[in-house]
Symmetry: D2
Subunit: 361 residues, 4 copies
């Protein structure tokens, strides 16, 4: 977005004068910056990057010791700051990803905002997220939603700290000037600690919709997608593949998308979330897509190729794939990964494209 006027400095005095007049009148010529503004294909400033869980988690622990959680800062969340987007706290131009850390018996106060949020738990348990008064237990492998403008807070009921990943559309909302924020209760509004949230009791029955909930909702009404369901769905896909049935998205590659049961579409209007499982030895086709995504390894070991670089990966590691960067996954042993992306934004605005590298050659 930064345009260097030096590269196209006009020689002639008359032109120079014209450019000065443009500047004074808050005008900018297209012809001096066309290549930057409208490149042949996406040339993201964001870079592919890997953050290691064994670096991330200790830093979050240190923050837990030094920084209080509560009104004002609101959350002890440490964001992935893409090295190609200096001065920001953004994983990509549209996506925010952070590790959030809550010490024993701590409470993160309630608030709400236009920004859509989710949590994904790579390890631990003992925290409840309270969404509009509904306490939602957080456990390893769970995917939890806090859609825009829902009050929410977190409280740790145990003597152990707990950390998880927050994903939001903060960068997009900030850039487009579309965000509102409101403070809520200092403590969570319901301190009960049920195993299952009320939203799940109403909505998490496959193919069954309550007659009290026939109005479609913009975001999913399911507050928590539990690991046992995700795991079962992926296991069944691989077993169906073993039986010669169509079920996987590629050889040895099972995958589900988390969806809104009222529409079958994405869980949030700006964020897509998926879970992928590769058999040991499986390799995905090299693919590139318009739009960016963030992945977290949930289990197993393997590697990702992004552009020309290959990165070994282990549990908890996070990486970002900027727009149009070719990527491929390779599994050493069974390899489980969580993914989120801005695909709903790209698709709703009809900018989506996908390309497979083998198809290009």
């Amino acid at each position: 977005m930064n345009i260097d006027p030096a590269v196209d400095e006009p020689d002639e005095p008359e032109l120079s004068l014209l450019y000065d007049d443009f500047k004074r009148e808050h005008l900018t010529p297209l012809w001096t910056q066309l290549n930057d503004l409208m490149p042949i294909q996406p040339t993201p400033q964001a870079l592919p990057h890997v953050w290691r869980w064994d670096t991330l988690y200790p830093l979050a622990q240190r923050a837990g010791d030094l920084v209080p959680v509560g009104r004002g800062g609101e959350r002890r969340a440490i964001a992935l700051a893409n090295p190609g987007l200096p001065g920001t706290a953004y994983a990509s131009p549209t996506l925010w990803a952070a590790i959030q850390y809550l010490g024993p018996h701590e409470v993160a106060p309630e608030h709400r905002h236009s920004q859509n949020a989710f949590r994904f738990v790579v390890a631990g348990e003992g925290v409840w997220t309270v969404v509009n008064g509904d306490p939602v237990a957080m456990r390893r492998g769970d995917f939890l939603l806090t859609p825009g403008w829902n009050f929410h807070g977190h409280h740790n009921e145990t003597d152990q700290p707990m950390a998880w990943i927050d994903g939001l559309d903060i960068p997009l909302v900030h850039y487009t000037d579309t965000g509102f924020f409101e403070f809520g209760s200092e403590r969570v509004t319901d301190e009960a600690t049920p195993d299952v949230s009320r939203s799940e009791r109403l909505w998490s029955h496959p193919g069954l919709r309550p007659l009290s909930g026939l109005q479609d909702t913009v975001s999913s009404p399911i507050a928590a997608y539990r690991w046992e369901h995700t795991d079962a769905a992926l296991r069944e896909q691989l077993e169906l593949e073993d039986e010669g049935q169509p079920a996987t998205v590629g050889p040895g590659h099972a995958a589900i998308r988390y969806v809104n049961p009222t529409t079958g579409g994405d869980v949030l209007p700006t964020i897509r979330a998926e879970f992928h499982r590769l058999r040991a030895g499986a390799v995905t086709r090299v693919r590139r897509e318009v739009g960016s995504s963030v992945w977290q390894v949930f289990d197993g070991t393997g590697s990702v190729r992004m552009g020309d670089q290959v990165h070994r990966l282990a549990t908890g590691d996070l990486f970002v794939v900027p727009s149009w960067v070719p990527w491929s996954l390779t599994a050493v042993d069974q390899f489980d990964l969580f993914r989120f992306s801005d695909a709903p934004v790209v698709e709703r605005l009809h900018f989506d494209r996908v390309q497979f590298e083998d198809a290009v050659r």
Copy 2:
């Protein structure tokens, strides 16, 4: 639809001559039949009626002894013939409902048709429905789909007969001349007897969609909605109501709609299916709707009021509610009922209206 020309017989000879000329030229005046054709409100020929399971089932048994199943007749199905629609085999102008009976080790051959079909099992087990090569076990409380143009057959793997309810849109399809039919294999194309169908293994995970199935489908891809899920969903609604939470559709009245997970909408383009549970003593508001529905008692005892008549009901009993007939349910003990209707047709064509009797007075 039957128009009696007698009632408006013209007196004058010239008019009489005109009416004769109309008839010869295949013309009919509107003014002599307006009241019949365009009544103030729906005046269905179909009548509210109850069929008793303890009458129905023995008749099906007798048919099992006397009538072979197989090519030609295709199915040993005995349809509810509404007393108000003489000469037809229709439960209502749009809905077909039948008891189907399959003796020990019998096979109903494969075929397919435009007509959309489902099965609901009020008792028994041991039959597999094979839908496009996917064997689907049938057990008490299960709701099973055979959407239009899917090959399907049934085979009984046990030494016991089994009976269940078939629901289809045969009357509507017949009336609108929209149906096609094709014979298939004499025997089912996959004689395996798994507990769970492949469709369920791929699709029956709450809020999770396989990445191999991102294309929305006209009908639900779930071949069987299992009783344990339906039962759990209803139980949770009543428990949430006990906790003071919004969950039921009315006091003491839990209900779910079976839906297509790719859209959140009805399972079939022409048929809506629901399951209702009333607490002992609960009474629903008197309600009338445009469109007809068929109910089957699954468990418990209670009664239905249709128009001015009240009918006691027991497990297996079926009743039909024609369009715009006021109805209400009363539960003696916990009362479980399956319901299907033509509501998707009425809604897609924008003829839907609902009225509550208490709201009218």
Copy 3:
């Protein structure tokens, strides 16, 4: 729908007894009537048929002399009664088509009904249809809408009679028990006689939507589609074809669909309306479709083949094509035809199929 029990009369006494018991209990076996109920392909009772304008119009004139218009009969409309649907006044199982005749200075009183209606004017002018208080002039070539539940009446402001075609979904609404009717004012509620209706002034500007009308509507808000626009659209298509541009639906075959500007879809939820123009000598591919349609010749001469029969056609002639009957049009000179059909019903319920005869052979 009429089932002849004779053809499958059982021989054995036990079976005979069973069938008697079925009848007494309001039950009908499927196996005795499968072929009638679920044929291999649609076998409509409705027949292809042509009604001649030079027969129809004089009969309407005679009715004008003998039968008053007004409260009770409501409309002097004479319906096409398909010879294959005896005892009804239906052009097809779903469609009603009638010639309506209004004498000099006569008034057809206001009423409203769930049934969706349109008018098409093959000749004449001088009548205003008042739809929800908006007076709409009727002129040759105009297509006018009266969507369900809009009050409407007609009044003839001239010393000449006027006749036109009414199209409604009366048969479908009657069959499905979905209709309501309400009487309105004895006279029309606005006797003004503007050239252009208020609905057109607000809505008939190509690609422009009033900011006061951003809510989508089930039916089109345009009360009249004027002949000059239809004619121009068809003329442009043929000229574009002359210039080698893609524009026509087949060689020498221009066609438009009347649409709802708030959605781009059909003008009414149950009725599709189109206008077709064939160059002299043009012949359309032989085609068959699920669902029925009614055509009226607007101008020119030509013929229609329906099944094995060919019918010469002239201005004003009407014909009905039942479901799945192959049809083709041939133009002698430039041949203009109006068409309406139940295609929105067939498509919304996902029963649509099309087949070209040349593709089959």
Copy 4:
């Protein structure tokens, strides 16, 4: 987006060390920047600003003398550079607006890009825009579309220069890394100069859709929305208001939205376009909306209030209203304004909100 680390500089050495470690590991804490990132309501960096036509046009003329048009720079377009977004050429974070100037007999070569574009002509004529080979005349008051990935070029057929306004989604596409660009022919691919484009001949008939164009399109197929239609639509709204009919969007305030006739929705997936006409003396309610818009005065005089500032306006003047800035228009004499905005983006992502100032007080 720029975060000043100074304001939250930690005092304690341990914390300081932690923040250094964050930085080295490409991490940023949320708690130090929450207020900037997630403000209580949108706090756009973009500022309300007015650009005067009598400044803009002479600068464009000077550019016409000094800067060639053609391959490389591609277009002689001079963009509004919002004073609150230094270093960019953006009118708002999502919208690009520029004056484009084409000298006598000049040609702007063909290219295509993902970015969606339109032109609006405040004065002049004589240029044809060729969109996918379809030559489209440009005249005063016309609104012309070049949806994403359509090849397009411009050529001036006259001895006079011509200038107009270009609107695009360049900033949004650049920020989200979603853009592709491809060079095309050096000259336009069809040098014909018809009055009416082929797209209009096919699509600009009110309520009529060609049967050859039944597939809905993401963007409108109409290449030019002509002034005579826009003018007539607005005039009719004011006349209907005079007659006491509901037609305007507010007292003395007529307005239309340009729409895609295949859907009734916005002409482009990212840009909404409207035209507003105020009677002399009319004042609009003070309103604020999420999302930004750019206006150009087409005719008449009046003023705009944005926030606390009031600006007098004359023909050709442009102004930008950033997100959530309250605005109101006042007409001195009849006041015609063109508007475009990013509303489709805001609405598709469900961030839309509107507030009226009188409603707040």
